[in-house]
């Protein structure tokens, strides 16, 4: 085994990151940090180094590790996490975001070699889940979690996962239903063939037998596989809605009744094969439509962001209680990198809170004792003590989830094309069927009934019902290849109907550390030290950044200091008179507004130069701003407006940009846009956007890692693919056109079928050919057309 080196860089043996700072060497292998090295040492001690053979650098970077699992000793908290437990063994399943390669599977299934008390561990790779069975007298849950943590696989334990486990989603046995329908379809086809090829005189005795067998096979198809169509049609009728399930249910019923009568009266072979095929194909369509991303959750809210347990001080000792038991008056301890779970007053310690997730404000805010700190902030620095003043669900941030936007039914009251069409389709179908009946009734009532039922059979909108799911699922998998994950197939149509785009700023169009500072001019070490010392007094974001940029100097004593709001600072340090600020402060005149993010430096009345802040926005923002004539574009930021002028080139006018927006204001803004008739797409990333994402017609959560927290939304977009957003919008329109075309094709088939049916001469053979043929046409047309459209848009 050799050290990996590319272009002279040393790569960490564990995680593959470049080793920048000091190297840690063990067994002639380089590690970038202590964390990676310690993982290697554990694995090495347990003879588990094959881990490194399956993949190069399989580990996750461990440079920043900070986790505490004391709360897992509290049985009231863990009881919700555990799947099964008795006095000997415990079975628990964890979601581990770090699972990503075969090495991960191998290592995590070898846990018993590290600790024999773990009997069994099994990975579900797509769900990124591990199920562990361990002997609980020998090892505690906390130790298991710590073991996972120590080998670099920290499980994600959040409140929502606990809750999710309790109401596990219902199972509707769709696969079983397809199996039954497919089984019956195959057998009925087999038994129907002799009839189609013609039976000789001797074989006529079988005809009756085959007929009754067919009826027998139809029973489970209608009463087991097809039940949901009846239920759905009935429910919709009661709500006075005509959806596509109504003609489908009608078709199934008519097919079934006619098959029984024909077999019973020995007048024909019946439509058993058409019936089974219909239900089978419909269920396949349903199955295709139900694409699930196991590893992505679209339903996350603040609960999956908040911790499971909180440290509370009671009677001078620290205890861990579940978040649900946290009450006002509790005294809580929040450590470095922990999240404040409820609105609280700062009692002790130096609070420097990172609110980027809650307000969109990019820079940490320092708070003084006695100040109220809102929930959702992340403490950076030392541990602080606080007193809770509002319960978790009533805090400033979580109140957002009490808004009606969150209790509204899913589906977003936007009708899909198929829903709109099927209403008219059903009416037209019934009109044709009844008029056929009325036309024939005076002539020949038998023929009339035959024609009436034939119309209902042949016009059964099987192909119609399949065109949307097949097109959409093909589109979904193309989006998915481009790192754009949609919650369900209906979202594609929503995407096509968007006319207004609203963007969040921090984290959405900017990335985490998006600014670079450059000094235009030359600075001596002494001058740097002076500027460093002056900026250390200010809490303005730009001062903080210069302060951080020049870090490493010794801070000198400030003799005089004054800060002019909106302009800069004036200070006397070490006998030198220093002005740091905008041109108004330094030159006494206002300069071109677009250059506002320059900070000029004047030392003892000598101009030294300026700091230029180059904002780096995500690549692709230009593409989105080029959408403007076709789409309305807005910026909705929780941050202050200090980047206003740089954003102007993307958003064209100041009226399109809104700053200092609270989470509630964001939601209200979307709502006001919608009231003017706009169909709004919101792109955001933080909890502060959660309300706006929910309220919008299409909420997209942008994230750099789909496994990380992202607020509840309709779609999740990987940051790398923001550049493709305009193409996605065009492609979604293409897919809608494909659906229109496939509707046209299936209607053509219906018309052909109807021309047979109205005359009353529909033979089972025609029905049995027409139905699968139309289905096959639709399936191949939609999948080929979607792929071609994607190719044209360069998405595959």
């Amino acid at each position: 085994m050799k050290e990996s080196a590319i272009d002279g860089q040393t790569l960490c043996y564990h995680c593959g990151n470049e080793c920048v700072e000091e190297l840690h060497h063990v067994d002639a292998k380089a590690f970038c940090c202590q964390g990676c090295k310690s993982v290697y040492e554990i694995l090495n001690a347990n003879n588990l180094c094959s881990y490194y053979n399956y993949n190069q650098h399989p580990g996750a970077n461990r440079a920043i590790v900070d986790a505490r699992f004391e709360y897992l000793d509290n049985p009231t908290i863990t009881s919700d996490l555990i799947d099964y437990s008795d006095d000997k063994i415990t079975i628990v399943s964890f979601y581990i975001p770090a699972i990503h390669c075969s090495s991960c599977i191998w290592l995590l299934e070898q846990l018993n070699r590290i600790n024999p008390a773990i009997h069994y561990s099994r990975i579900d790779f797509l769900k990124k889940q591990v199920i562990i069975r361990f002997s609980n007298p020998e090892i505690s849950l906390r130790q298991v979690v710590e073991l996972l943590f120590n080998i670099g696989y920290e499980p994600l334990i959040s409140l929502q996962d606990v809750i999710k486990k309790q109401d596990k989603s219902r199972k509707d046995n769709l696969v079983q239903k397809i199996a039954v329908a497919g089984f019956c379809f195959g057998n009925v086809m087999l038994l129907s063939f002799p009839e189609y090829f013609g039976l000789s005189g001797v074989e006529q005795t079988f005809k009756h037998f085959f007929g009754w067998l067919n009826v027998l096979f139809c029973l489970p198809v209608v009463f087991y596989s097809g039940t949901e169509y009846f239920v759905s049609a009935w429910n919709n009728l009661r709500n006075k809605v005509l959806n596509i399930d109504f003609p489908l249910a009608l078709g199934i019923t008519v097919l079934f009744i006619r098959t029984i009568t024909e077999v019973y009266t020995r007048t024909g072979a019946g439509f058993g094969d058409t019936l089974c095929g219909l239900v089978f194909f419909l269920l396949i369509g349903k199955f295709i439509q139900r694409k699930t991303y196991h590893h992505i959750s679209f339903e996350r809210d603040y609960r999956s962001f908040f911790p499971v347990a909180v440290s509370v001080i009671e009677n001078d000792s620290e205890q861990h209680i579940p978040l649900s038991q946290l009450q006002t008056g509790h005294r809580i301890v929040i450590r470095h990198n922990e999240i404040i779970p409820a609105d609280a007053i700062l009692l002790k310690g130096e609070a420097l809170i990172d609110f980027s997730f809650v307000t969109g404000e990019a820079n940490p805010v320092s708070k003084i004792l006695g100040e109220i700190i809102y929930a959702g902030g992340r403490q950076t620095g030392q541990a602080i003590e606080m007193e809770v003043i509002k319960p978790v669900s009533q805090s400033y941030l979580t109140q957002l989830w009490n808004n009606e936007a969150f209790s509204r039914r899913q589906g977003k009251d936007m009708q899909t094309f198929s829903q709109k069409v099927s209403k008219y389709f059903t009416v037209v179908l019934l009109v044709i069927a009844v008029s056929t009946l009325l036309y024939w009734l005076p002539v020949d009532y038998k023929k009339g009934l035959a024609a009436f039922t034939a119309v209902l059979i042949v016009a059964c909108p099987c192909a119609l019902a399949l065109s949307t799911p097949f097109t959409m699922s093909a589109a979904l998998s193309i989006f998915d290849k481009n790192f754009f994950y949609l919650k369900n197939t209906a979202i594609v149509e929503h995407l096509a109907s968007i006319d207004t785009i609203v963007l969040d700023k921090t984290g959405t169009i900017t990335t985490g550390d998006s600014k670079t500072i450059k000094f235009e001019g030359a600075l001596s070490e002494k001058e740097k030290q002076l500027i460093y010392s002056a900026c250390g007094n200010s809490s303005h974001p730009l001062s903080r950044m210069i302060y951080a940029h020049l870090n490493g100097h010794e801070r000198l004593k400030t003799e005089e200091y004054a800060e002019v709001p909106g302009q800069g600072i004036m200070a006397v340090i070490d006998g030198h008179y220093l002005r740091v600020g905008n041109s108004k402060l330094v030159f006494g005149q206002k300069e071109d507004e677009t250059q506002l993010s320059r900070v000029h430096v004047l030392l003892d009345n000598v101009y030294l130069g300026y700091f230029a802040f180059v904002h780096q926005y995500r690549p692709g923002l230009e593409n989105i701003s080029n959408l403007v004539p076709g789409y309305k574009l807005f910026l909705l930021s929780g941050d202050h407006d200090h980047e206003k002028y740089e954003l102007l080139k993307f958003f064209k006018s100041q009226e399109a940009m809104y700053f200092d927006q609270s989470p509630q204001e964001k939601l209200d803004f979307i709502n006001s846009l919608q009231r003017t008739g706009a169909t709004v797409m919101m792109i955001g990333d933080g909890l502060n956007d959660a309300g706006a994402l929910k309220q919008s017609n299409l909420g997209i959560a942008l994230t750099d890692n789909v496994n990380n927290f992202s607020p509840g939304s309709d779609a999740i977009l990987d940051g790398r693919s923001l550049i493709k957003l305009p193409v996605f919008l065009k492609f979604s329109k293409d897919t809608v056109h494909i659906i229109y075309l496939s509707f046209l094709i299936s209607l053509t088939y219906n018309v052909i079928g109807l021309s047979y049916a109205v005359t009353g001469n529909l033979s089972p053979l025609v029905a049995a050919i027409l139905m699968p043929l139309s289905t096959a046409t639709i399936i191949s047309f939609t999948s080929i057309a979607t792929r071609l459209a994607a190719k044209r848009r360069k998405l595959i």
């Binding site: 094959s50 191998w106 579900d124 199996a179 089984f183 195959g186 079988f206 067998l213």
Partner: protein, 56 residues
């Protein structure tokens, strides 16, 4: 030709057995994770064998 009745009976019975087997597989969770086993089969325990041999 009456043998057909028997043969069809046999074929349906056989098909029913397969259907039942599928139901059982579905119920016992064999189809819950369709991806991981495909990776797992490629991972071998050669390390362990090396250890065992060296111990001998």
């Amino acid at each position: 030709m009456t043998i057909i009745f028997f043969l069809i009976g046999c074929s349906i019975l056989l098909a029913l057995i397969f259907l039942g087997a599928f139901f059982w597989a579905q119920k016992s969770g064999q189809n819950d994770d369709l991806y991981t086993p495909s990776v797992r089969i490629l991972l071998d325990d050669h390390n362990e064998e090396v250890e065992n041999k060296s111990k001998k």
